[in-house]
Amino acid sequence: MEAIEDRGGPAQPLLAVKGLVKHFPLKGGLFGRTQAVVRAVDGLEFDVLKGETLGIVGESGCGKSTTARLLMRLMDPNAGTMIFDGEGVGENEQAGGLTLRDYRRQVQMVFQDSYASLNPRLTIEETIAFAPRIHGLSGEKAVTRARELLAAVGLAPANFALRYPHELSGGQRQRINIARALALRPKLVILDEPVSALDKSVEAQVLNLLVDLKAEFGLTYVFISHDLNVVQYISDRVLVMYLGEVVEMGPVDAIYERAGHPYTRALLDSRPSMDPAFRRTKPPLTGDPPNPVNPPSGCRFRTRCPYAEAVCAERKPLMANLGDGHIVSCHMASAGSGHSKAGRLYEVPPPRAEMVA
């Protein structure tokens, strides 16, 4: 298949997200008035560069999946803009904007639940050919493309084209979802926990496939997962979210080797050690993430942070630049913030769980 043309040049971010906000009202009471709002996504700002894989990690309730749905425009944000390759998403076409229909042709999504995201009444071939047909391809051409894509995701078209989703295993269904996402030749694919529901041996197959397809079709990925090992394996850059905000972002090696934010460090330390001789004896963090309905004032992580001081409750930390595009939102990272360890982030011993031999 033909390569996708590049418009704004390689240096222009494929997707620039600015000040993205999504609050969900909680309604209740006699007249269904809004009682509170869930601050699911609260001022996200990041770029997705051309050809990269941006990993987004965080715990449940941190807004990862809301972010995915906002990026796909499956829901409208309360505030914020998204610029896709130089064009404002959802803005007036005459003003240089991109209509949602055109946007969605270039951005596609793969969901975690491989079964729920397929129409049980359509054959595999019809499922994949559906979107190309909607977007104006003739029926015959759409089917040809569907069969090409089936082969590309490693399922023999002759065996699979006419089968139904319930006849397939989880790994096969996820391959179908990936093929369907690629059917419109998108530039950006948003993968929301695409391997989390799969068994380990199948997870490895699908990850290998994603790496291959990215090279073959020149894709850009946003890869959302709670599995830090998988994110490390597949990402070029990593964004760490906590309660709807970015707490740290940077190249994958910087995040995994020189994590600055106490939350990122704790998250990394929560991974199983994979060596029974070095088991953890103390958990890196206690308690669960707070409720995003009323997040803590100032730094949202302060209630679980071992280094929290008065200033953390008073002011929201600024984004500090650690160089090489590695940014972190912590009072310890910026000099003059008022924190007793201000500007001495790396002097803080990482809250590593003590290990026993």
């Binding site: 715990e59 068994d199 380990k200 041996s201 490895a204 197959q205 090992n229 929560s270 060596d275 958990p283």
Partner: protein, 330 residues
């Protein structure tokens, strides 16, 4: 703690030739096909396997929690009692006092219309015949045991008012209410976040040591097994294909399936490398396998793999694997 140190003890769990077949009008599934397992008192055994390997069915058989249409054969002995011969009344006493179970999803395991404190106290009243006030006192003790902060206040909380991690702790408290000798855990940390998962694993290990319980912990995650297990049994297509102490198994698995599973588990430092995968998919188990069930996916397959189900071979004491490539020990 380790079974090796206590050779003279009688096993807490003794499973011999366990077979479970689910027969419905549409199809028959041979879920478990001859499982032998021993668990010593105070030992943590992890059953590691992918979906459909029969790990959860084996666990449920130990408590006779399988549906009516399941056909069970073989001998199941827990704490010296023959589970297969128990009637409903005996089972009701056996469950809770000798064996208790915790599940992946605490929201479905706890009753939404009773407070957490009441659910724990009810268990104590039912099994130990304690008075209501004594049971309530015990409930508070248990919530403190599982390290729920401000336990006194949480006694009056309903399950939906607790966070995921606290709910999981509350379910553990219900399970431990009558000091069972054996705790069965069916993927209790799979639905939790990483930072909470490690808290619950450490809690379980601490409680297991303090109460000297035997634990059978079912998981699909090798990393979780590494954090909690003394011994690991790897299941594939309803059989144990490898068994041994956790350190040896994670350092060098014997069975090609266990090797494949270790290779396919993504861990740190694999960036840029191609992940090794196990080609194909597990068998459907419509018929019980009569050969090595892994042979269609195995790169080392030989003629003898297809003649019969390989026997367990033990190359060194305490380790065994069901593969013709593994040497017999001296």
């Amino acid at each position: 703690m380790s079974a090796v140190l206590k050779p003279a003890m009688t096993p807490l769990v003794k499973l011999r030739d366990l077979n479970v077949t689910f027969v419905t009008r549409d199809r028959t599934v041979h879920a478990v096909n001859g499982v032998d397992l021993d668990v010593m008192p105070g030992e943590v055994l992890c059953i590691l396997g992918e979906s459909g390997s029969g790990k959860s069915v084996t666990l449920r058989a130990l408590m006779k929690l399988l549906p009516k249409f399941a056909r069970i054969s073989g001998s199941i002995e827990v704490a010296g009692k023959d589970v297969t011969k128990m009637n409903e009344r005996q089972l009701a006493n056996f469950r809770g006092t000798d064996v208790a179970m915790i599940f992946q999803e605490p929201m479905t395991a706890l009753d939404p219309v009773f407070t957490v404190g009441r659910q724990i106290a009810e268990t104590v009243q039912r099994h130990e015949g304690a008075s209501r006030s004594a049971a309530n006192a015990r409930a508070l003790e248990l919530l403190e045991l599982v390290q729920i902060p401000s336990a006194k206040r949480r006694l009056d909380a309903y399950p939906h008012e607790l966070s995921g991690g606290l709910r999981q702790r509350a379910m553990i408290a219900v399970a431990l209410a009558c000091r069972p000798k054996l705790l069965l855990a069916d993927e209790p940390t799979t639905a939790l976040d990483a930072t909470v998962q490690i808290q619950v694993l450490l809690l379980l290990r601490e409680l297991q040591e303090r109460l000297d319980m035997g634990v059978i912990f079912v998981t699909h995650d090798l990393g979780v097994a590494g954090e909690i297990a003394d011994r690991v049994a790897v299941m594939y297509a309803g059989r144990v294909v490898e068994e041994g102490p956790v350190a040896g198994l994670m350092a060098g698995p014997l069975h090609p399936y266990a090797q494949g599973l270790l290779g396919a588990t993504v861990h740190a430092g694999m960036r840029g490398q191609r992940l090794t995968t196990i080609p194909g998919a597990p068998p459907t188990l419509d018929v019980a396998p009569t050969t090595c069930a892994f042979s269609p996916r195995c790169q080392f397959v030989r003629d003898e793999c297809l003649e019969r189900v390989p026997v367990l071979r033990s190359p060194e004491p305490g380790r065994q694997a069901r593969c013709v490539l593994v040497p017999y020990g001296a």
